[in-house]
């Protein structure tokens, strides 16, 4: 009964709001039509200039480059699955380990997406400096701190773009291309063989809590 009265009240409210909503909608439809015509001619001009009206703006390209450069530097095994697979010989079949697999301890050094894109908090970096060094040695992936901008650099918008563009080297870019729409890097299920490889490395715990 309460829900019915609530719906009744909302209905009454929507009846009053409806003319304004329609007015806003008509206004947006008109402005949208003008914008459509403008963008249509703009796209034609861009077409003859050899470019296209792309949905990917310069800011997106910068962000994409930053994220792509951060993926190989990340210690998160989710990002480095491709590298680990490549390091192993493909013709050797992975054998199941005879010993029972113990539950891996919770890795507190795992990074979220934000941490993967940037440096860790400076205090935590100093505290866990030795541990991170050992971890990077195990994974055979050197941390490329030059490629990752510091927080001070991030505040300067223009400086970051130049620094990132100049610092990104072809070696730093992982072979898997990052796409903002495609989340296969994260969402792809790990195959059985990969799981066994992870277990043999002893201590890699994939935690999705940050996602």
């Amino acid at each position: 009964m309460e829900g019915l009265f609530k719906s009744f009240g909302k209905g009454l409210l929507y009846i009053f709001v409806l003319p304004f909503f329609l007015l806003v909608m008509a206004g947006y439809a008109l402005v949208g039509l003008i914008a459509f015509i403008f963008l249509f001619f703009k796209s034609i001009i861009l077409f003859f200039c050899g470019r296209s009206l792309d949905i990917e703006l310069p800011e997106d390209k910068k962000a994409k480059a930053i994220i792509q450069s951060a993926i190989p530097a990340s210690s998160n095994p989710v990002f480095n699955q491709g590298n680990m697979q490549q390091s192993l010989p493909s013709n050797v079949p992975s054998e199941p380990t005879p010993t029972p697999v113990m539950p891996a301890p919770v890795n507190t050094n795992q990074h979220s997406v934000e941490e993967a894109c940037f440096n860790q908090d400076k205090t935590t970096t100093f505290e866990n400096d030795e541990e991170t060094q050992a971890e990077t040695n195990n994974h055979q992936v050197p941390l490329q701190k030059e490629a990752i901008p510091s927080i001070d650099e991030k505040e300067n918008g223009s400086a970051i773009a130049e620094s990132n563009d100049s610092n990104i080297q072809p070696n730093n870019i992982s072979e898997k291309k990052y796409s903002p729409k495609k989340t296969s890097l994260i969402d792809e299920p790990i195959e059985e063989d990969d799981k066994k490889i992870d277990d043999s490395h002893n201590g890699i715990d994939i935690d999705f809590k940050d996602f």
């Binding site: 719906s7 909608m25 009206l53 703006l57 997106d60 910068k62 934000e114 894109c117």
Partner: protein, 233 residues
């Protein structure tokens, strides 16, 4: 006094109750439709996050104004890309109507007409005399059945209407859907630009932090006690 003059019979009372119930039902249905529209608009607005999340995560954009400018620019490009198909449909429909008018040399053609328009393939009723209400001499409320004026039949000359009307309706509704998405994304941009760069001090108390660091309420340690503590260590 006016109330005393109004004498309602039992059937009048029943009629008023029925009308009230219909009115309540109407508002409830409108409320439900409005709720659905709000939900759909929230869903449409959420789709913006896919496009703008990377620049926020990677700290390429770090202030509200730049984010708003960037997101609006992207919003208009998304709208342009989405609205291309409905606009093309509407243009093609209009072109068909123009060709039909040129062929028949008839620029006064009404595509919705019941004789040579789209309405020839529809059932059409005359609703002009359905409800008759009289208040002045006597209170009477008469409902008549609507008169059927057209049964569906195919007319070859109405081909322009047959092609134009569905095209314009589909294209128009599709375009309105795109406009609604545009409005939803605009509202989402406004909300995000306020929340992403928000510096919230709701749970922060500087005095509380200061008092915690001073060990308030504890007895001050004398130099002798301090020496004893050091010896114990």
């Amino acid at each position: 006094m006016l109330i005393e003059l109004i004498k309602l019979t039992e059937s009048d009372k029943r009629l008023i109750v029925a009308l009230l119930l219909i009115l309540i039902l109407f508002f409830v249905i409108v409320g439900f439709i409005g709720y659905l529209i709000v939900r759909v608009m929230k869903w449409q607005g959420k789709r913006l996050d896919t496009g703008v999340s990377d620049v926020v995560y990677s700290r390429v954009i770090t202030d509200k104004k730049t984010f708003s400018k960037y997101a609006h620019k992207k919003n208009w490009i998304i709208f342009y890309k989405a609205a291309r198909i409905p606009v093309v449909i509407m243009l093609v429909s209009s072109l068909i109507l123009l060709i039909r008018d040129i062929i028949y040399h008839d620029f006064t053609y009404n595509p919705f007409d019941t004789t040579e328009g789209f309405a020839t393939i529809l059932f059409c009723w005359d609703f002009s005399d359905v409800i008759q209400i009289k208040f002045i001499t006597e209170f009477s409320f008469i409902i008549k059945a609507p008169i059927l004026i057209n049964e569906p039949h195919f007319v070859l000359e109405a081909w322009g209407g047959y092609l134009f009307v569905p095209g314009i309706i589909i294209g128009g509704l599709w375009y309105l859907w795109c406009v609604q998405s545009l409005i939803s994304r605009t509202l989402r941009i406004k909300k995000l630009s306020e929340s992403i760069f928000d510096k919230n001090l709701d749970n922060f108390n500087q005095n509380e932090q200061l008092m915690n660091s001073l060990n308030v309420g504890q007895k001050p340690i004398t130099p002798d006690e301090k020496k004893v503590e050091e010896e114990q260590k």
